[in-house]
Homo-oligomer: 651 residues x 2
């Protein structure tokens, strides 16, 4: 399945057109796997050129902890710079930088302490632990592999369905599957009862050893708890606006696997867009209405149908995507992913059974890799869940205010509190109890009024968890008319969350191909066809030969590139020029300049994907590469070919 | 004390000249505190405009955990971009991105589990914990405050000395001071015996709960453990080269304090420069030899003398700075800090008693703040400590090779191992024991030979800590001549480590000043005079009045700035233009464009520090601001004043 929003024109005018010529046409086909992709070769290239590697390698490494080497690290910096330009700058967002260490109360009230679990099981003989859904996926995968012509078709269909469904099942349902099929451990031993395992890393804050903290598993809570400060300090109290944050997140995965795709520490870039839940339109929606995406909605998934291509406008109009703002960010995310060179992309809606406890509607941007379609961006309407939870948890009002065009008269439930009685009965808790009563919803207040009227006691829960009895003497609720000029409300939040490691890994796979050696020797050579904006370094500089008189001009050129902010790589080794090209193709460096003995003041400039070379005056080459690598409206290679004479390589 | 390396010419050509006119001349004076600085006013501005704020504020915050708000966050991104340009790009470093979570064995072998401690004490009545050195500092500070004319001068001198020395004392010495002066807790209760507290946050990796991990307290180990991969994959096995890393570090401080200066989570930017310990020259040393710094060496500190100004060349020649490479990075760090606008800077050498367990020589770049001189960059020669420790710890050889120009003949101690005996005696440990014997230094081998010759048993220690007896039957050491074409050696490491939060906080304080209102109303207005390259946003855009016909040109201008990569802030509120200028001065935005009704196609462009305005054609203003904010050779405001007509404000 492929990103449809790249018009053929855009491909023709970018160097992307020179990528693996065997790749499917992104606009019309829907591959189920990457063409001509051999994972072992790909991984060998990545490890050998140190795109990434297992962290703490001399000690044998630790599962799920990976370091990024220089090429990937430069790509990450480029990614973040483009991301900030595309989202923070263009959308005028407020970026914050929040801590990873988070005190326990935050995740108690957000629901993570109770619910951020994976279901686990243990081999009762060896003590080894597994994630139960993954274990059952493998189990049914194997079972399907053993099916023969005589296996009943209903069985096969059932196994297929279970294999697809276990990923979104509850603990109880997973246990039922284990019991029904008498599933054993990989070593053939009985499994323990399924149990929940909290994925947050836990530590202690401060020297006393009494204050629990967690390493955040997502960035959302940090941004959301800054809502009031952002509203007051930076937005003249106006909604909607968005907070953004980039940083590390941590999940103590039970079974890290699939290289950079399921890891224990990773970088996220998250946005929390705060808006009025009664008005989820987006001012700039028209700018993305025509963006076309492959969408796989929950109903299609339930019945086993394929994804289909639509514009964002159609999907919002049909309510397939819940609202304009959610649609806007799906469209913006799609444009961003295309900008950095993602080719095979689809948007999958979360099914009813798998949605997070806070989500009203959620779509994942999935990118095709050799491991299948991988969730790389989650775009969720979290409704007012978080701010409501933290407002209750902290006892602080986390709301915004909307002024009406004309005042309205509404029937309200007035809370008549007897302060004298309160003070005597509750002492220093009076303030907290009063706040709790005032914060009751109208429905809750009506229910309490009915309870109190019947002579029974009501109750409220304080932020610290204590339940306090409330009697008739303390409060009564009376309906009355009230003139209102506006209202306070708890904003809803639409959250696009980008998993940077997963996206970059997917781009690595999609940009990878192998070509025959230019010299015709049939040697296979790896190439990463990154777009120039994302490429780890933009240009390589070579002396044609290892001669002292070429050293100075190479050094001068390097300094000029560095001053122009163009990262470059000099290879002044004694290797043949063809070998040098192969080395930088493996790093995905899009352009190479070779300095030779020509007396006409020119150098050769080579483009990676086409291997074509032109002769460019030394005085112009830095400027040309700057244009080719521009973030906005880069110059096309075709225009360079048209402007300068071709160079026929003798190498 | 001030950075001397800013020549007056450089000041005159940058907008820095317009900063607080009461500030001391950076080149010739040595302030002991910031002039005209009121911390309460400064903090109010920082919190109100959300430069930073206590994290998880609705829950009351947690000591030592701070969030950065939008202005500071943008400055951090600018800082990192400049840092990468100045170090990674210009010096051709290999940047890696390493995980925060680190398995225990790494910090066992680096020495952190045993030695990364602060000395703590506890109030035996209340259980409250203190950092003992800080508590004693406060104790002697108070004691000095109570000294009168009749207090013996020797006592006063002694208290003064102890106050300065406790920061670099051992646990035993600190305990002696407590005993001698019968020091009590702040509440007047007896103190517990001093005890060490490890500052690393501890957690468990994986679901089994058996594998201990720590959140890294520095980035060094991650880079150093990638040494071999960087050497092989990116440097054609040539030394010297440097690895770099930017990321979070964590220290469970006993007593977080001083705003962003002593916190529990912070961002570091570290460099590990690997070099041959026998040759610590630096190829580009001449480029920094003339950089002048205020240097405070260990001898000056011992005798209570002041820092003095010298060139890096002088300091290395006199061996005050241990070697050229250390001097090179001190010079580069100085140039970088000046580039981002640091004005009062000195370099302090670590005293013999305070040097870290691995450091051969260490200098801190200290920046003047209202809390005194604050260590912001540490530049240490860690010698071969880390690679040696990890080589022993992991059993992997972490060395580089040097080829000699001409082969040499050396007298070596040959290790004759009896493999048959070894295999029988040690079984599966044979390999590890053989490696341990081969890794013995010549001195160790000689000592063992003497032991074995005397009929006693020798021993080696395996990476897992077991001590294994070695007998005469297993090995003997015999001197012989050997022809060597090169040698393997363990590289030394020079490490510049930048504390980004501390540097940015210090820049905030040094850039802060208060001016009288331009309208002459005598209202005090806060200004942050950040250099354009570091400023959170580069330009503010205002319509002169809140009129619909000015909305479109403001929107067009904003889009043009965003496309040019210039971050901007639109204020289209109804506030008076003077008020709008004051709002953006408080954010340190260096330039402001006001769109008015002039029919000649011009807008006004205002510079923050001088408050001067010029009229610039609308078509040119984006280009002019791009030039003013350029990272390399920015245009000066004076040249803009000279090129365009002045605008006399009517506001």
């Amino acid at each position: 399945m492929a990103a449809a929003a790249v018009p053929p024109a855009a491909i023709a005018t970018s160097t992307a057109s020179h990528r693996d010529p065997t790749s499917p046409n992104a606009a019309t086909t829907q591959p189920s796997k990457l063409a001509n992709f051999t994972r072992a070769e790909f991984e060998d290239t990545c490890l050998r050129r140190f795109f990434f590697g297992l962290a703490f390698d001399p000690y044998g490494g630790t599962a799920g902890l990976w370091d990024l080497g220089p090429p990937m690290c430069a790509m990450k910096a480029n990614f973040l710079s483009l991301w900030r330009q595309h989202f923070v700058l263009e959308e005028n967002m407020c970026e914050v930088d929040c801590t990873c260490i988070t005190p326990e109360e935050v995740f108690i009230h957000s629901g993570h302490v109770e619910r951020f679990n994976d279901v686990m099981t243990r081999d009762t003989a060896t003590g080894e632990c597994f994630r139960l859904d993954k274990h059952l996926e493998d189990y049914f995968e194997k079972k399907l592999g053993t099916a023969t012509a005589t296996t009943p078709a209903t069985d096969v269909a059932n196994w297929e369905k279970l294999k697809n469904d276990v990923g979104s099942m509850t603990l109880e349902s997973l246990q039922q599957v284990v019991d029904q099929f008498k599933v054993l451990s990989p070593k053939g031993n009985p499994l323990s009862a399924a149990f929940p395992f909290n994925l947050m890393f836990k530590s202690m804050i401060g020297p006393e050893g009494t204050k629990v903290g967690y390493m955040r598993p997502e960035l959302a809570q940090g941004i959301i708890l800054n809502f009031k400060r952002l509203l007051d300090s930076n937005n003249a109290s106006r909604l909607p606006f968005a907070g953004a944050c980039v940083g590390q997140a941590f999940r103590n995965e039970i079974a890290p696997r699939a290289s950079l795709l399921r890891v224990r520490e990773f970088t996220l870039a998250e946005i929390e867009h705060f808006l009025n839940p009664a008005d989820k339109r987006h001012q700039k929606f028209s700018r993305v209405a025509d963006v076309r995406i492959w969408a796989w909605n929950m109903d299609q998934q339930e019945v086993g149908a394929d994804a289909t291509m639509h514009t964002i406008g159609e999907l919002v109009a049909s309510k397939t995507i819940d609202n304009e703002t959610l649609g806007y960010f799906i469209g913006r995310a799609c444009l961003f992913l295309q900008k950095i060179g993602v080719r095979f992309l689809r948007f999958r809606q979360h099914r009813r059974t798998e949605k997070a406890h806070y989500a009203q509607d959620c779509w994942d941007a999935e990118i095709l890799t050799s491991y299948g379609w991988v969730e790389c961006v989650g775009i969720a309407d979290r409704s007012a869940y978080d701010l409501t939870a933290h407002s209750r948890g902290s006892g602080k009002e986390l709301s915004a205010r909307e002024e009406f065009d004309t005042p309205i008269v509404v029937r309200v439930l007035d809370r008549k509190i007897n302060k004298g009685v309160m003070g005597k009965a509750y002492g220093k808790d009076t303030g907290a109890i009063t706040a709790a009563i005032m914060n009751l919803s109208d429905a809750e207040a009506k229910a309490m009024e009915a309870t109190l009227a019947s002579g029974a006691k009501g109750s409220v829960t304080l932020p610290d968890g204590r339940k306090i009895d409330i009697t008739r003497e303390v409060v009564s609720f009376v309906e009355k008319d009230e003139r209102q000029t506006g209202r306070n409300f708890t904003p809803a939040v639409v959250e696009p969350s980008f998993g940077i490691g997963r996206i970059l890994y997917s781009v690595l796979e999609q940009a990878y191909w192998v070509r025959r050696d230019e010299s015709g020797k049939n040697e296979k050579r790896a190439v990463f066809s990154f777009l120039p904006v994302l490429a780890p370094q933009k240009v390589a500089i070579f002396p044609l030969m290892m001669k002292p008189e070429l050293e100075a001009p190479v050094g001068v050129l390097r300094d000029e590139f560095v001053r122009a902010g163009i990262s470059c790589r000099v290879d002044d080794s004694g290797a043949a020029i063809g070998k040098k090209y192969a080395r930088v193709d493996e790093l995905g460096i899009p352009f190479a300049v070779t300095v030779d003995y020509e007396a006409d003041g020119t150098v050769t400039l080579r483009e990676r994907d086409s291997s074509k070379q032109v002769r460019v005056p030394k005085t112009e080459v830095v400027g040309v590469v700057v244009q080719l690598c521009a973030t906005i409206e880069p110059r096309t290679w075709d225009s360079v070919i048209a402007a300068f004479p071709e160079h026929k390589s003798s190498a």
